[in-house]
């Protein structure tokens, strides 16, 4: 069974304190891995797609990286406005399904 595990469940940082969120997956092959940001009371907002090990994507203070077993979302010098829940989703290669498997998310709070 395909599984996606995000850690930690919750993370509190001081403004400017860099850290990383983890998304580990056990799927039979990978067609794509997606990162989303979700603010309270809103839908997930798409951030990045990663397709192959070694790939990296950046946007402002966020950088996503991918290995064969996990992805990291690095947050450099975070600001309070980066506070949100970050979701990871994986599209397995097998079965031809277009349905991604989502992790439970990491709730990030950045204190000023």
């Amino acid at each position: 069974e395909d599984q996606v595990t995000q850690s930690p469940e919750a993370l509190r940082l001081q403004e400017g304190e860099s850290s990383s969120l983890n998304c580990s997956y056990t799927v039979s092959g990978l067609r794509g891995l997606f990162w989303y940001r979700q603010d309270p009371g809103k839908g997930p907002e798409f951030l990045f797609t990663l397709y192959s090990a070694g790939e990296e994507k950046e946007k402002e203070r966020l950088k996503a990286t991918l290995t064969k077993k996990e992805s990291f979302l690095h947050i450099t010098a975070p600001k309070p406005e980066d506070s949100a829940t970050y979701l990871c989703a994986v599209l397995p290669a097998s079965g031809g399904s277009y349905i991604p498997t989502f992790g439970r998310g990491t709730s990030l709070i950045v204190h000023p």
Partner: protein, 114 residues
């Protein structure tokens, strides 16, 4: 930018009512999805559709049905609302001809069943 619009941000209904949640996307996406999101349970797929008039059950279809009469619109129907259907409902769409594109979500409908 992709725009997925859900008809209501907040909705309050009574048990036994038939409830309609509407979703429209403006990017000509083939695939549309309905999820519910509950604390501690994450996103759970209710139904999805690959094309007009086509629908497939997701992980938790019981008590729900869907309708897709036009490509841009995907409706979720609660046949007889119950209190355990109180939740955040999220619609998503994707253009995925090769099976590796992300979903794009609406802002959700917070549904309360009293």
């Amino acid at each position: 930018d992709v725009k997925v619009t859900q008809s209501s941000r907040y909705l309050v209904k009574r048990t036994g009512e038939k409830v309609f949640l509407e979703c429209v996307q403006d990017m000509d996406h083939e695939n549309m999805f309905w999820y519910r999101q509950d604390p501690g349970l994450g996103l759970r797929l209710i139904y999805f559709s690959y094309d007009v008039k086509m629908k497939e059950k997701g992980d938790i279809p019981e008590g729900y049905s869907v309708s897709r009469e036009k490509k841009e619109r995907f409706s979720l129907i609660l046949e007889s609302a119950s209190t355990n259907q109180t939740s955040m409902y999220l619609c998503a769409s994707s253009h995925d001809p090769v099976g590796n594109q992300p979903q794009h979500f609406g802002d959700g409908t917070r549904l309360s069943i009293l």
